[in-house]
Every structure is written in structure tokens, then in C-alpha cells.
């Protein structure tokens, strides 16, 4: 067996690493200084100390990081006191992604991520800085085909980007972030003024409503900006074998996914997009299990009516003829509406119990909203076998249509509760390589069983 000598990462890796840990350290130091009521001087001293320490640590760890290729695998060794060696067999490499952040761009290098199958992103090998030539060499060695002339290409134009950001689905994440920041500041002011926190000044329904509106507004702006940064310059192209996705403003990412490794695609119609007939396309592959939704984006914005046609262009293996899904029967309607309605009512009870009885209108309002969601769920649910593709649709908050290649399903199951059995209804669930599931609920048992049987080989 031949093995090349161990190689080190480009020195830019030190800077990348140092800046990363510095951002955490400096942020922490400043917060501590403010909360403890320290002077700006102390904060500055702590910040400088943090910079020095993280630089030193990054240099030490850089010296101990090596990687090398042999006939069968890529090896990566890291760690100062207890070196850790990751070995990825060449045949198992699912894709080689590159990330070019501001620092990498400054040094003319790229970060290389070697994708491996598995549910955890910590299994992949990340080479924080290698030269472009080295990246090309590694890519070739790891069996990643060179880009050919693309057969299909879709760009997200300026208008598309704007629409994506306006209907960005990450609002919920940002709301919690803003709430966290708010709580922090609330605390800080509380300590400094020795007075009461902002929260306790919210004594009238008007001020509460205003606070919530401000919070949501801020969340929306942040979400908008985040989406612009992440999806700017989005383009996806396909040649005979590989899908390539490029995106990002500050940090430019290039992903390549072999077509044969695509298990399925989910058409996601979020609450903000559905009403406008818009959706996002998300990839299901074994390599991207457990990763953030944004990493699995095939296309952040597509017209719902064109989704199937776009999928057929980008992943021909998932092309299907137009057709209708087998839907739950009429008698299943209440099984969708009642649980959703009760869920809404339970949410509505909370403010009445916890806060004030004047909030009682929340109860019927949320129960009604729940029932409407249930109706939406009922109208959306269904399953369809179309040649080599199985289509499963369900509504959680967003309406999700999973198109999966039948022969790549990891598992499929027929589920029936006691109550469903009495009404001869059943659920059908399919599981794809990322661990993602699609579940068509309350189907006619005969329909579900027929689909279940057809999915066996």
C-alpha cells in the first residue's frame, strides 16, 4: 500500500481558527464585563487577552493537524494531547464541498468539506484552509468528477433573492434569538439602573402588543438579512452525473452532489410562501442527514406549479407524470381537524391561566385557527406511486411533498392505531437516507396496504 507523506493545512487555517474562537471569547468577555459592571478598560484587556490566547492555541493545534491520502482512504489527524485520526475510505466519499469565507478569500485558499454518509455532520472531514490547486487535486483523488458543460442550470435572480428573503422560513429561529437578546439587555439594564426590568413595565395589553410587534418586526428584518447573506448569488446546475450548488455573499459555498446519491426531494410550502403559490426545494441525501435546512436547499424559491418540472430538469430520476394523490376519505376529516383544534385550544388556555382572564378571546381564536390548519392538513395529505417515485404529502406547519426514489427508501411502514383500525384507516410512512420521513395519514386501509405492498420489491 502506498501512502503519501502527511501534509499540513495552509497557514490561513490558524487565522480562521483563531478568529472563530476569538469571536466567542471576545463576545463572552464583553458580556461578562458589562454584566459585572466593569469599565471599558477591563473589557478591552480581556478582549486583547482573548485574542492572544486564541491565536496561540490556534497555532499549536494547526501544527498538529495533518492529512494524507493512501490507496484506499483519506486520513485526517488532529488534536494536541490525544490525537484523533479520522479515516474516510475513498469509496465512501459522498461529495466534496468547498467554503470560501472572507479570510479564506484574503489568503486565496478554500475550506474543503469531505461529506460522508451518516446522520451526523461531525463525521465529515473539514480541512479549514488548502490552496486551490490542492483542493483540485484532492477532489480528483477522491473520485469527484470534473465539471462538464451543464445540462441544466437555474439561477436565483435579484428578484428571486428578494422574494426568498421576504418569505424566508427562518423566522421562528430568529424570534427565539431576538427574545434571547432582549432578555439579556433587559437583565443588563435591570442591573445597571437598579430599577425594574423592561418586562415589568409591560402592564397594559397595549404595551404588550407593541412589544410583541417590535420583536416580530426585528426578527423579520434579521431573518430577511440572514436569507440575503446565505442565498445571494444562488445557482444550481446539473451535468450528466453531478448536481452543483453555489451560494452565499460573505461566505461562498460550492456543493457537489452525485445525482445517484439523491434519495429524494421535499417541496416545502411554508406559511409565508404557500399563499403566494411559492415553495422551496430541499434535498434528501444520506450525506446531509442532521444538517441544517439551508445546507440541504436545492432551490430556495420556486413557483409551486412549476416545482415538478424544475425537479425533472435538475434530478431526472425524480421526474413524474402529472397525476393525483390518493387522499384520505371524507370520514377521516375529523381526525385531522379535532387534534389540531384541541392543540389550538390548549395554546389559547395558556395566556388565560398564566396572565389575565381578559385574554379569553385567544382561546376560541386559536382553536379556530387550529381547526383551519387541520382542514389544510386533511386537504393536503396523500400518497402516490408514480413509476419509480413515491410521493407522500403531509402538513406539519408547512405543507411538505416528499418525492423519493422507491428503490432507495431505507424503510417503509404501515401504521394503525386501535381507533384507526375501527374506521379502517391507516398511515403510510417512508424513510429516506437522511433519516427524513414522509407520512401520509388516515388513508383508506386498502389504499395504504396496496401502497405498502407495492413498495416491497
Amino acid at each position: 500500500m502506498t501512502s503519501e507523506p502527511p501534509r499540513q493545512l495552509h497557514v490561513a487555517a490558524i487565522v480562521v481558527d483563531a478568529v472563530r474562537s476569538m469571536l466567542q471569547l471576545v463576545g463572552g468577555a464583553v458580556v461578562i464585563a458589562i454584566v459585572q459592571g466593569g469599565t471599558p478598560g477591563l473589557a478591552a484587556v480581556m478582549a486583547v487577552g482573548g485574542i492572544g490566547a486564541s491565536g496561540f492555541v490556534s497555532w499549536i493545534t494547526w501544527r498538529r493537524k495533518t492529512y494524507w491520502l493512501d490507496d484506499v482512504a483519506l486520513h485526517y489527524r488532529s488534536g494536541v494531547f490525544t490525537p484523533d485520526e479520522k479515516v474516510v475510505p475513498r469509496a465512501r466519499v459522498q461529495g466534496v464541498d468547498t467554503v470560501t469565507g472572507p479570510i479564506q478569500r484574503l489568503f486565496g485558499v478554500v475550506e474543503l468539506r469531505v461529506q460522508v454518509p451518516g446522520a451526523s455532520s461531525s463525521d465529515e472531514i473539514v480541512l479549514a484552509a488548502v490552496t486551490r490547486d490542492e483542493a483540485t487535486r484532492l477532489r480528483r483523488e477522491l473520485g469527484q468528477p470534473e465539471p462538464a458543460a451543464p445540462d441544466a442550470r437555474i439561477r436565483l435572480g435579484r428578484r428571486g433573492l428578494l422574494l426568498t428573503a421576504l418569505t424566508s422560513p427562518q423566522i421562528s429561529v430568529v424570534v427565539s434569538a431576538v427574545a434571547g437578546v432582549y432578555a439579556l439587555f433587559d437583565n443588563a439594564i435591570d442591573v445597571e439602573e437598579g430599577g425594574e426590568g423592561l418586562l415589568s413595565r409591560l402592564d397594559s395589553p397595549g404595551s404588550v402588543a407593541l412589544a410583541i410587534a417590535v420583536l416580530l418586526g426585528a426578527a423579520y428584518v434579521l431573518s430577511f438579512l440572514a436569507a440575503i447573506v446565505v442565498f445571494a448569488g444562488f445557482e444550481v446546475e446539473r451535468d450528466a452525473q453531478v448536481l452543483r450548488i453555489r451560494r452565499g455573499l460573505l461566505e461562498r459555498r460550492a456543493q457537489s452532489i452525485p445525482l445517484e446519491r439523491v434519495d429524494g426531494i421535499v417541496i416545502v410550502e411554508g406559511l409565508a410562501r404557500g399563499p403566494f403559490g411559492l415553495a422551496a426545494l430541499r434535498l434528501e441525501t444520506a450525506a446531509h442527514g442532521g444538517e441544517k435546512a439551508v445546507t440541504r436547499t436545492l432551490l430556495p424559491l420556486v413557483r409551486r406549479a412549476e416545482a415538478e418540472a424544475v425537479i425533472a430538469r435538475l434530478v431526472p430520476g425524480l421526474a413524474i407524470e402529472p397525476g393525483e394523490l390518493a387522499r384520505p376519505p371524507r370520514r377521516a376529516l375529523r381526525r385531522f381537524v379535532v387534534p389540531w383544534g384541541l392543540g389550538g385550544a390548549a395554546l389559547g388556555v395558556a395566556p388565560v391561566v398564566l396572565w389575565t382572564s381578559a385574554a379569553w378571546p385567544a382561546l376560541p381564536a386559536l382553536a379556530l385557527l387550529g381547526a383551519v390548519m387541520g382542514l389544510r392538513d386533511y386537504r393536503g395529505a396523500g400518497v402516490r406511486l408514480a413509476g419509480n417515485v413515491v410521493v407522500v404529502r403531509e402538513v406539519r406547519i408547512a405543507r411538505r411533498t416528499l418525492l423519493a426514489r422507491r428503490h432507495r427508501l431505507q424503510e417503509h411502514a404501515l401504521l394503525r392505531t386501535h381507533l384507526q383500525a375501527r374506521a379502517s384507516l391507516s398511515d403510510l410512512r417512508v424513510t429516506v437516507g437522511s433519516g427524513g420521513k414522509g407520512r401520509a395519514r388516515h388513508l383508506e386501509t386498502a389504499t395504504a396496504e396496496a401502497a405498502f405492498a407495492a413498495l416491497r420489491r
Binding site: 469509496a91 444520506a286 424503510e411 411502514a413 401504521l415 392505531t417 437516507g433 427524513g436 416491497r456 420489491r457
Partner: protein, 152 residues
């Protein structure tokens, strides 16, 4: 539709589930007694209710679960049928299996059982208890049918 799977679990599994559920119920009862002692007169009936429900659960559930569990290893797939009030019938294609593990813990060996667990890219699926020789046989049959695991 093809018939349901036919293999049942060995007797030891029923005993194991009975013991597991009994221990779980004793723990719950302990908590209920603790609450009853801490907030007296609030819910003096709580330990009684927990004891009654626990007894009913231990008498009924493990036995029914055991009675209904079925599994089968077909030419191309592993099939499981499980559950009492909510029944799940699962198919795992053998070509999707990445590895198989036979797990023996102190607890399972009390009942002279092992757990068989098959791993796919999406997660793992378990047969809760098998005789060791049977498990080894099933494992070998799965491995024999697995072709090169290149294609995930």
C-alpha cells in the same frame, strides 16, 4: 397483500418485558408515594391510583405486546410487526442495511437473550430479544445477502 410475518419472540422476552415494566411501575409508585408524603392531604389517592394503574399495565401490556409481536427475514427484506393499541408494520430492505449488531447486556443475559439491531443510513431497527444462536443465524443470513455496500 402478502401475509403477515410469522416468527414470534422467545419466551424470555415476555419475562424480560414483565420485569422491565414492573420495575418502571415501582419507580413511578415510589415517586407517587414521595409526592404523597411531601404534600400531604393534597392528593392522598395518588399512590393508590398509580398502584392500580401500574398493576393493570404490568398484567396486561407486556403479555399482549409479546403475543402480537411478529418478525420475519425474507429474501429481500426484514419485516417487523409490533404494537398493541398502535400497530406498526415495518419493512427494511436488506440492501439498505449497513451493518448488523448483536447486543448482549447484563440485563438481557439474565434472560439468556440478545438484541439484534440492524443499522441503515436513516437509523437503526431492533428485534428486542432473540436466542443467541438464532440471532447469530439471522445475522449471518443478512450478511450473506448483503452485496458490496458501495451504493447507499
Amino acid at each position: 397483500m402478502r401475509g403477515e410475518p410469522t416468527n414470534t419472540l422467545p419466551d424470555g422476552v415476555r419475562a424480560m418485558w414483565l420485569c422491565e415494566d414492573a420495575i418502571g411501575m415501582l419507580v413511578l409508585l415510589g415517586i407517587a408515594l414521595g409526592i404523597g408524603a411531601a404534600v400531604d392531604a393534597l392528593m392522598p389517592w395518588l399512590p393508590l391510583v398509580v398502584a392500580a394503574a401500574g398493576l393493570a399495565h404490568v398484567v396486561l401490556v407486556p403479555r399482549e405486546r409479546y403475543r402480537r409481536y411478529r418478525w420475519d427475514l425474507h429474501e429481500e427484506e426484514l419485516e417487523l410487526l409490533e404494537g398493541v393499541l398502535s400497530v406498526t408494520r415495518t419493512i427494511v430492505p436488506i440492501t439498505r442495511i449497513q451493518h448488523v449488531s448483536v447486543e448482549r447486556t447484563g440485563w438481557t443475559s439474565v434472560f439468556d437473550l440478545v438484541r439484534l439491531s440492524v443499522h441503515t443510513a436513516a437509523g437503526e431497527t431492533k428485534i428486542p430479544g432473540l436466542e443467541p444462536t438464532r440471532a447469530a443465524d439471522v445475522r449471518d443470513r443478512i450478511l450473506a445477502r448483503l452485496r458490496t455496500p458501495d451504493d447507499l
